[in-house]
């Protein structure tokens, strides 16, 4: 990875204030009648990025993608791709290709003809088309299926034809609408890596729409979390996961234990939050921009909490409870602990050993404890 030319994932152009974005979305609003699908959205995407738009259904992510492709016109705002305003540019004239959620393969054409479609429209010569189609089919490993019709292919193969077809005209920007949605879990994981590999080899900018946070985490250089037509957080996968900007993001990405509390100590290097939810004080080892007596939320991920039988030292960051449920998932176990405060929390533990003699089991009284950096403090 390090020996290769710097890709967007290593160069991180979004951290450089002087870098020129490849896609600029400025104050874009899209209304369908009374319904506002996208509201005053601004977003910069850089060359070579694999950007994931993540959000629940109806959050406006697909509408945003369709505006980039040119199938919808923004009600207001500006979309620029490679420095060019896209306002009056029809879909067929944009340097953009899209891979549809349904794949939208032409059912009356062979795999080859599907892939060649965009090249023919670009007026390429017959030899050029043939060479390019062969190259792409090799890339997606479908050489022996050239003459098949889409309905003679499996879901995974169709997905790869759709990818090859959208890559064929050599777009500057590729839009992918739930590209892995129709695949089963195993195939999905394989395809995820392939997709990233293809993206890195070709250096094309990808914008992927997905509702699957795991998919977004494993694919993206950056994730934009959308909610009700607005982007609520943009960041690298780790940032979004570990430093969520709001309760919505913390809750949407991964699972989380949310404790409401009030600030009782507000210092430069730490804050102490008294939480009735948790039944204890939560000590956070860094300063937080807040006022005394302010209500805050602490988001603690299940894997950041430990369970132990003995009482931890100190006067904060532990709560007593009873193990109600243990779900064994193979790689890890999920514990549901009923705290004395009445709240139920989720704790996960990696199953590092094949057999654990003194494992915590059902109905045991335990202490749930976490470190001073475990909690993400949220004000909204």
């Amino acid at each position: 990875m390090d020996s290769k030319a710097p890709t967007a994932s290593t160069a991180r152009p979004w951290r450089d204030a002087s870098a020129k974005p490849f896609v600029r979305i400025r104050n874009v609003t899209k209304k369908f009648g009374e319904f506002t699908a996208v509201f005053n959205l601004s977003l910069d995407i850089y060359k070579g990025e694999l950007f994931c738009l993540l959000g629940g259904s109806g959050c406006g992510k697909t509408t945003l993608l369709r505006m980039l492709a040119g199938f919808e016109n923004a009600t207001s705002g500006v979309i620029e791709i490679d420095g060019q305003d896209m306002a009056r540019v029809p879909p067929y004239a944009r340097p953009v290709n899209m891979m549809f959620q349904s794949y939208a393969l032409f059912p009356h054409m062979s795999v080859e003809a599907n892939v060649a479609y965009g090249l023919k429209r670009a007026g390429k010569s017959k030899d050029e088309i043939e060479a390019r189609v062969a190259e792409l089919l090799k890339l997606v490993k479908l050489e022996q299926f050239r003459t098949r019709k889409p309905d003679q292919l499996s879901g995974g193969q169709r997905q790869r034809v759709a990818l090859a077809r959208s890559l064929a005209p050599g777009p500057k920007l590729l839009l992918l609408d739930e590209p892995l949605g129709a695949l089963d879990k195993k195939l999905r994981e394989e395809t995820q890596f392939e997709l990233v590999k293809i993206q890195e080899t070709l250096g094309v900018t990808f914008i992927v729409v997905t509702h699957d946070q795991e998919e977004a985490m494993s694919l993206a250089t950056r994730i934009g979390v959308m909610h009700e037509g607005e982007i609520v957080q943009i960041g690298e996968p780790r940032e979004v996961y570990e430093y969520p900007a709001s309760r919505y993001v913390a809750d949407f990405i991964g699972s989380v234990n949310m404790f409401e509390g009030v600030v009782v100590e507000d210092e430069v290097d730490h804050v102490r939050i008294r939480s009735r939810d948790a039944g204890c004080d939560i000590y956070v080892g860094h300063g937080v921009n807040c006022a005394p007596e302010q209500t805050l939320w602490c988001a603690i991920r299940p894997e950041k909490i430990r369970l132990q039988r003995e009482k931890p030292e100190g006067d904060a960051n532990f709560a007593r409870g009873t193990v109600e449920e243990i779900v064994y998932l193979g790689d890890m176990s999920v514990f549901q602990v009923h705290l004395e405060s009445g709240r139920r929390i989720r704790v996960t533990k990696a199953n590092a050993a094949r057999f654990e003699e003194d494992a915590i089991s059902w109905d045991e009284a335990v202490y749930a404890t976490w470190g001073p950096e475990a909690a993400a403090v949220l004000t909204t």
Binding site: P91, Y92, M98, G118, R121, P169
Partner: protein, 318 residues
């Protein structure tokens, strides 16, 4: 195990019925298929056999107006008389050949006109907002609520010398003498296209409504302008609808009788009219029957060709 238990509990009645069914060699599926087969045999094949029989007898002034085919002889044998003269006469008198060709020509041209008019209409309905589609389809079907004959009569009022069109054009001073439209082939085309347009629109609509909008978007996305998208995606995918609609218009139009006799002139030769004249004016039932059989052949052959083309398309689609 549970089935045998049920059978004994239900008693002998069901067992007896099952035994009877088995002895007759009928399965549930067999019965379902047998009903339409019986229907077709009773109401299509037998009448057709009767027509064939009449076509092979000789005309006579009698009741019915032809000689019987089977005749019991005095010695107890049965004499069968087959008269192929009617079919030979079809070839001898060029009236028949001319009217066959003219019928097919009129039908083909009308089908093409229906397609050219019906395709954009079907496309527009299929692309209309969903809540408006039913209303538009209703409007297409609405004429069926009035008798076909009345609607053709209405065209006489529109096309005739002092009809609506001529009066309007003369009132506006565009023409000074009425245009001759009624009793021409033009009027026949107007009538057939008007009458059969819904039969073109409905199957085309059914096909175009199924067309996945994503395919059109994908085509545009890959750089195709709207016309190219239409020619490379929409049109090939709607071919089954085009074929179905064309057959529904072409076949009845070949044998059309009402429209040419009400709107057409003396020069309008159509086989439906010839058939009518043979049957009712000449009272030559055998001749009329052979005309009908020949027409059937003329119509069935193109259908078979279209069917095989369609089957080929479906096969290629897979």
């Amino acid at each position: 195990m549970s089935t045998s238990a049920t059978e004994t509990r239900d008693g002998g009645m069901r067992g007896a019925l099952n035994a009877l069914r088995h002895r007759l060699g009928l399965s549930g599926r067999g019965i379902v298929v047998a009903i339409p087969t019986l229907w077709l045999g009773l109401f299509f094949l037998i009448p057709f056999a009767v027509v064939c029989k009449i076509a092979l007898s000789s005309a006579a002034i009698a009741q019915p107006p032809y000689l019987p085919m089977l005749k019991a002889m005095a010695d107890g044998t049965v004499q069968i008389t087959l008269n192929f003269g009617n079919f030979l006469f079809l070839g001898q008198d060029d009236l028949y050949l001319k009217s066959y060709i003219s019928s097919i020509e009129i039908a083909v041209v009308s089908t093409i006109l229906c397609l050219l008019i019906g395709y954009p209409m079907a496309y527009a309905i299929a692309r209309a907002p969903e809540r408006r589609r039913n209303v538009l389809l209703m409007l297409v079907i609405l004429p069926f609520w009035t008798s076909f004959l009345l609607r053709v009569y209405a065209w006489i009022g529109i096309l005739k010398g002092n009809g609506i069109i001529n009066n309007a054009l003369m009132g506006l001073g565009i023409i000074h003498e009425p245009l001759v439209m009624l009793q021409t082939n033009f009027a026949v085309y107007v009538g057939i296209v008007y009458g059969y347009l819904p039969f073109m629109i409905l199957p085309l609509y059914a096909n175009l409504a199924k067309l996945d909008e994503n395919l059109l978007e994908a085509s545009a996305d890959l750089g195709a302008r709207p016309l190219t998208t239409f020619l490379t995606v929409t049109l090939p995918l709607s071919l089954p609808g085009i074929i179905a609609g064309s057959m529904l218009v072409l076949i009845p139009a070949v044998g059309e009788f009402v429209i040419p006799s009400l709107l057409g002139g003396p020069g309008t030769l159509m086989i439906g009219r010839v058939l009518w004249d043979e049957f009712f004016s000449n009272r030559d039932w055998p001749m009329a029957s052979s005309v009908a059989i020949a027409m059937l052949v003329f119509v069935v052959v193109p259908i078979l060709i279209l069917r095989s083309v369609e089957a080929g398309l479906v096969e290629r689609g897979k």
